[in-house]
């Protein structure tokens, strides 16, 4: 038998058995937050809420990189793309995210040299082929993608590439997870992001368990992973024994990927950062260290002024990211705000909770 690590985790009988196990132990109403956008997408794609008992509520958290990227960052990337001799290379997801007045998509339609790449390494290749241009890569994402940007920068330094720059909006996960609880988001446990944990290890969630008494289960992305993670959290909650557990043992080692952690530490340092819909969170952003300053795209242009208009136009992205409301409660959802013409970032990203609701959601009743 060939084990593909996909079909086995989508086995209908096993999943229904696991759902039954949840039904057998779940008595109290419980609200769980899946932090990662990958989880949100999977939950909706497979119709998981339609399988769960009514007392279990799932909320989507702030772990979609695109969704938490600020308007100001988009404004900055657009301003950067407008400078002479710049090629802005971006992941496709970012291109539709609305800034204050524009998006990279609009800028591209106007003729700016903005190219979609599948990875920062593609951006490096473009830099190698275009020595007379300056190649800028807007780096977004958490501990999962930060090592890639770090690797690209270290590679550029090693090979003496002088025309490659990163505009960093990279972020780290733990500060936002505690900030949400401090802000009063009512949840009973976190389904912790599996991919982030592959890099960081599981220890980063320990303070949440110790200081806030919330269960944390690191979960994988296949339906059976998610259902099992929910089972583990429900069991902890019913027994009043919040704990840090790892469901995703086939991918996540307790100590994480030490080499990647070292790369992040070398290339980046933490600083306060603005999260769309949430606000400034101390020590939650990653900016380039002194050693790698020469690769910082901020030196190429004058960043536009930060306008505090992050929650305008009736978009409730912030409350959705905080898990206080669902997309269906937003008056703009599906009417004024659609994936083609998004108002908030949650509708843009394939992993955003509004996009997930739009594409897969509004579960069949």
């Amino acid at each position: 038998m060939v084990i593909k690590f996909v079909d086995e985790f989508r086995n209908k009988d096993l999943i229904l058995e696991a759902v039954e196990a949840i039904r057998n132990i779940s008595v109290k109403p419980i609200t769980l937050m899946e932090v990662c956008g990958g989880h949100t997408m999977s939950i909706h794609k497979f119709g998981i809420p339609s399988l769960l008992p009514d007392n279990i509520k799932l909320l989507s958290g702030p772990g979609c990189p695109v969704c938490v990227t600020s308007r100001h960052f988009i404004d900055s990337a657009a301003a950067c793309a407008g400078e002479k001799d710049i090629i802005l290379t971006t992941l496709g997801d970012l291109i539709r995210v609305p800034g204050t007045e524009t998006s990279l998509y609009s800028e591209k339609s106007k003729g700016r040299d903005i190219r979609i790449v599948y990875s920062v390494l593609d951006a490096l290749k473009i830099a190698g082929k275009n020595p007379d241009k300056k190649i800028v890569f807007p780096g977004i994402g958490f501990e999962t993608t930060a090592p890639l940007s770090a690797a690209a920068i270290m590679d550029a330094k090693k090979s003496g590439l002088k025309n490659f720059y990163i505009l960093s909006a990279h972020k780290v996960m733990p500060p936002v997870m505690t900030a949400l609880i401090d802000e009063g988001v009512k949840i009973n446990g976190y389904i912790c992001p599996g991919h982030v944990s592959i890099i960081t290890g599981t220890g980063i969630y320990k303070p949440i368990v110790d200081n806030y008494g919330l269960g944390c289960v690191v979960g994988g992305f296949e339906p059976l992973d998610i259902i099992q993670s929910i089972y583990m959290l429900v069991k902890q909650f019913e027994n009043n024994k919040p704990a840090l557990e790892n469901q995703y043992t086939r991918a996540v080692a307790p100590e994480g990927n030490l080499k990647a952690q070292e790369m992040i530490r070398r290339v980046f340092r933490t600083s306060p950062d603005w999260w769309r819909g949430i606000g400034t969170i101390p020590e939650s952003g990653l900016i380039l260290t002194e050693e790698f300053k020469e690769f910082d795209a901020l030196q190429l242009f004058d960043p536009p002024e930060m306008i505090n208009s992050e929650t305008d136009r009736g978009c409730i992205c912030g409350e959705i990211l905080k898990g206080l409301k669902t997309p269906a409660e937003c008056p703009l959802f599906g009417k004024i705000c659609t994936p083609v013409d998004p108002v908030g970032a949650c509708m843009v990203s394939g992993e955003g909770s509004c996009a997930a609701w739009y594409r897969y959601g509004r579960e069949a009743s």
């Binding site: 989508r10 909706h44 119709g47 739009y358 594409r359 579960e363 069949a364």
Partner: protein, 334 residues
């Protein structure tokens, strides 16, 4: 942030394309013909005719399983065939970019001739324009086609006879065309080949079996999802589908997993969706006996519940709603 300019999304076959079509029909007026289907079907003194047109801008010109020429013949033939017509004559107009190699053009023309012969249609008129370098990308082709149909088939494109209990059939794996073009563009090495093929042979055979077919549509841009959501909303009925019954090749499924695409939204160029009532078993059997329908399956049922909505039972037994794809998954795939 409504765009006041044409963006790539206007050509996606999704919501923005529908907005554009609305503008066209506002100005061009009501022709008295249901022109919102793949072909315009109208009566003439010598019988019922179908007329259609389509332009092809695929990049690159050659892809695994086909090329722009084969696509230009198949696409128009299929638009006629799903309207119930027997395709007869095609026109063919080329827009060529200065600098295109003659040999390249000849390869494409040869491919068109071969495909037309296989589809039993004649290319009878045409036009050529050459534009300066940069004004188009190597070669764009437009084909128009005329076919003739029996009166009893004239509402096949509109779906007005679709009723509760009808089965939804498809003639094989979905998503291959979109991913084959994407793969060659990005130098992904895999075995995925476009399903580009003329469907008129398969369709004509099916129409001869009995009169139980109530609707047909080829699932091109926007994929299976676009066809079924449009049908559900048009006939105000619900559609139930089971994910495990939808045929997707292992390689296509794998690449979709990797890239985050939904096979339901990917373009096909050789897939017909047939909605059939009592007697559908014979249609399915006929489809399976045809070389282009070996993997035919029943993928869904028309229901009275949830009118206007397509509900998919997922492979794990959950359920979700299928929506019309918004925006462009992949530009210039046909």
């Amino acid at each position: 942030m409504s765009s006041k300019i044409i963006t790539i999304d206007h050509g996606s076959g999704g919501k923005l394309t529908l907005d554009l079509i609305e503008m066209f029909t506002d100005y061009f007026g009501d022709s008295g013909i249901d022109s919102m289907t793949d072909s315009a079907v109208f009566s003439t003194d010598s019988g019922t005719a179908a007329f259609t047109t389509d332009s092809y801008v695929v990049n690159p010109l050659h892809f695994p399983g086909g090329d722009i020429g084969k696509l230009a013949v198949c696409g128009t033939v299929n638009d006629l065939a799903v309207s119930g017509a027997v395709p007869k004559y095609l026109s063919c107009a080329f827009i060529l970019e200065e600098g295109l190699e003659l040999e390249e053009l000849e390869t494409i023309v040869k491919s068109m001739a071969g495909t037309a012969e296989a589809a039993d249609v004649k290319i009878v008129t045409g036009d050529t324009k050459v534009v300066e370098r940069g004004a188009c990308d190597k070669m764009f082709i437009n084909t128009s086609g005329v076919g003739f149909l029996k009166d009893k088939h004239s509402s096949l494109g509109s779906g007005i006879n679709v009723a509760e209990g009808d089965k939804i059939l498809i003639n094989g794996n979905i998503g291959d065309h979109g991913l084959s073009v994407l793969s060659i563009r990005n130098s992904f090495s895999n075995e995925i080949k476009s399903d580009c093929a003329p469907l008129n042979g398969l369709i004509t055979t099916c129409l001869e079996i009995n009169d139980c077919i109530h609707f047909m549509r080829d699932a091109t841009r926007g994929g299976l999802a676009a066809v079924l959501t449009e049908l559900a909303s048009k006939i105000k009925a619900g559609i139930n589908m089971e994910e495990t019954n939808i045929p997707v090749a292992e390689s296509t499924r794998g690449l979709c997993e990797l890239l985050g695409f939904d096979p339901l939204h990917l373009a096909n160029e050789g897939k017909v969706i047939i909605v059939a009532g009592k007697g559908w078993e014979d249609i399915l059997k006929t489809m399976k006996n045809h070389p282009l329908g070996r993997k035919s399956r029943v993928i869904g049922t028309i229901v009275n519940d949830h009118p206007g909505r397509v509900v998919l039972e997922t492979e794990i037994g959950g359920s979700r709603i299928i929506d019309i794809p918004a925006g462009m998954q992949l530009p210039r795939i046909c």
